[in-house]
């Protein structure tokens, strides 16, 4: 336990970090830069060359942004990306009627409450799958990337104008869904120092807002915050709290996964969907099977419908089905009789470390293979023959082709280690030592099997 204490450093205690977090400028500048890149990607996507590898939109979004998101932001900062994400920014500025601190006048939104029926991440699961089914074409064709980005931006603005707070991020954004899921692993958290102070605090400025900042845009009451999933690390509560009760601190990885409460079916499904689609992407994009690639690419054709059906069945039925079988076998072995559905949901959270490791391993493959497209795409964003930074002629060569497999092995090994440790901890919740042991075995074997499958797809 001593080691766990050592890994907790309260960042908000250091005045430099604290003032950087309190100031709105760093966030505003990073968001504006990201928004500029994003708008340029929309422009180049619509009007630039249709050749993906020469078009800024594809390279900026699917190589640069994706690499930063999956290799750095999500594993180390959880929802850190959400705090500077450009997609909800224009809508949020309109909604607030301000770019920086509250001006007391209020903004343009109708401020409706998000319907109760959709207060879950099923819509995000659906939105993710919808994009995933078209992803081969979105990943490779600038026009389609532009369509997707334009749609994200318009839906985000519309949502901000109709509903209160960041309803788009919390309930619709397909990216936000998996960032939230994996943010539970991050070695950083924002929490209250003392929940008792919150409970007795009448005005609850963190939720309602005051002149120093806005009420939690993510519809979270910081006093009740136990998991990173829905906290966008926007730092509003740090600004609004009148009792100096908010802290940001480092912590050991994956802490949220071992909290017994608050596990839900929609999030469990997110874990299945993410692991399943990582496997599909590895097979389609990185495998040697040409017919699979063209089936995924020829949208509307018969092979595409077959691909869609296979994708959905695999991700929504095969992966959860096999996993449930593993959970149920364990339950039998352990002689346990508790709610089967509940235990499948609980154990699904153990797939989160392996799922993120799979996505990182997958991303390593194509990010480094295509990173050398970045300089020419910056030099000639539209592919019109410009040469802004003199790098238009840089040729393609894949980077680190010998070390990428080693990095993939390392990250998958860590992921499997993490997943199985979580299986053991979840299994021990409220049952005897022996029962927990038996319950863990089949689920751990499922994780080992999934890892071997991933290794086969990536390095065999």
């Amino acid at each position: 336990m001593q080691q766990l204490k050592l890994m907790r450093i309260e960042l908000t205690r250091y005045s430099i970090i604290r003032s950087l977090m309190l100031s709105r400028w760093p966030q505003f500048i990073l968001t504006s830069l990201a928004l500029t890149g994003f708008l340029l990607a929309i422009l180049t996507g619509w009007f630039g060359t249709p050749v993906g590898s020469r078009n800024f939109s594809i390279i900026f979004v699917w190589i640069a942004w994706w690499a930063i998101l999956m290799l750095i932001a999500v594993p180390f900062f959880g929802r850190g990306w959400c705090s500077i994400c450009p997609i909800p920014a224009p809508g949020e500025w309109l909604q607030r009627g301000a770019l920086l601190q509250p001006n007391g006048k209020g903004g343009l939104s109708l401020g409706k409450r998000w319907p109760n029926k959709f207060r879950n991440i099923w819509l995000q699961n659906g939105a993710f799958l919808l994009v995933a089914l078209f992803s081969i074409i979105v990943l490779t064709q600038p026009r389609f990337t532009a369509v997707v980005l334009t749609a994200f931006l318009s839906i985000a603005v519309a949502t901000s104008l109709i509903f209160e707070r960041r309803a788009f991020c919390r309930y619709l954004c397909p990216v936000g869904g998996f960032i939230g899921l994996y943010s539970q692993l991050a070695p950083i958290e924002l929490r209250v120092k003392d929940a008792a102070i919150c409970a007795s605090h009448k005005t609850k400025d963190c939720y309602n807002g005051n002149l120093r900042g806005y009420g939690c845009p993510w519809q979270v009451f910081p006093g009740g915050l136990t998991k990173n999933t829905h906290c966008g690390l926007c730092m509003e509560c740090l600004r609004t709290c009148t009792e100096d009760n908010i802290l940001v601190q480092t912590r050991p990885f994956a802490q949220d996964l071992i909290l017994p409460g608050g596990r839900r079916l929609d999030e469990a499904y997110k874990a299945f969907i993410m692991l399943g689609s990582a496997l599909v992407y590895m097979s389609v994009l990185l495998g040697p099977w040409g017919s699979l690639k063209s089936a995924a690419y020829q949208i509307g054709s018969a092979p595409w419908f077959a691909y869609v059906a296979a994708f959905l069945v695999f991700v929504l039925a095969v992966v959860p089905g096999l996993f449930s079988v593993a959970v149920l076998i364990g339950r039998r072995l352990a002689g346990l009789r508790y709610n089967a559905r509940r235990s499948v949901i609980n154990f699904a959270y153990a797939l989160i470390p392996l799922g993120l490791a799979a996505w990182i391993a997958f991303s390593l493959s194509f990010v480094f293979a295509n990173l050398t497209y970045l300089a020419p795409a910056l030099s000639d964003p539209f592919g019109w023959g410009w040469d802004l930074i003199g790098a238009a002629g840089v040729g393609w060569s894949p980077l680190f082709t010998e070390t990428v497999p080693l990095m993939q092995i390392a990250i998958l090994t860590i992921g499997l280690f993490g997943s199985i440790s979580i299986v053991r901890r979840i299994a021990a919740e409220g049952v005897s030592k022996t029962a927990a042991l038996y319950q863990s075995i089949p689920i751990s074997l499922f994780c080992v099997g999934a890892t071997i499958l991933i290794l086969t797809l990536l390095i065999a």
Partner: protein, 158 residues
């Protein structure tokens, strides 16, 4: 009583010593493979958007390999991961690449000329000899799984 404490500690830690030792063995043992084969090997590879056929090539370690690349529709190329060799073939023409396959393992073959939308994912495989890395990886991950399994000791004795 306390005289048994030291043996208990050793007994408790031996699985860990075993796991760590096996990790080191699996990760670093150099395995001398059988001597190189003198027979040269020529493989004809057809490239069309967006696949190579055959898409997977098997050769022996140490073998002299010649790849004859034929592009059937537009210009395609082959870049051999790990080896760094590259050839480009114009439509209808054959380009050849000869090299000694001295590194064992599985190496991706990537199309090296932008040939259309799916170009970045036009991928084949060159398997040379035994893919030791793959087996090491499986060994390591199983051990990591085992370590994750053993690391946790439930506290509640019921």
């Amino acid at each position: 009583m306390y005289s048994t404490q030291i043996p208990v500690k050793i007994v408790r830690s031996w699985p860990w010593i075993a796991i760590i030792a096996s990790i080191l063995v699996i990760a670093f043992t150099p395995l001398p493979l059988k001597a190189s084969q003198p027979v040269a090997r020529t493989v004809r590879v057809e490239a069309r958007s967006f696949e190579f056929s055959p898409s997977v090539i098997h050769v022996e370690q140490g073998q002299q390999v010649t790849i004859e690349l034929i592009a059937t529709d537009v210009v395609h190329g082959i870049y051999v991961d790990g080896y760094g060799h590259e050839i480009i073939a114009n439509p209808g023409q054959t380009a050849t690449l000869t090299f000694i396959a001295d590194k064992s393992g599985s190496f991706r073959l990537r199309c090296s000329v932008t040939c259309g939308a799916l170009h970045p994912f036009m991928i084949g495989k060159l398997n040379v000899g035994v893919n030791l890395l793959f087996y090491r990886a499986i060994g390591l991950s199983v051990l990591a799984g085992l370590a994750g399994f053993m690391l946790f000791r439930p506290r509640n004795e019921q």
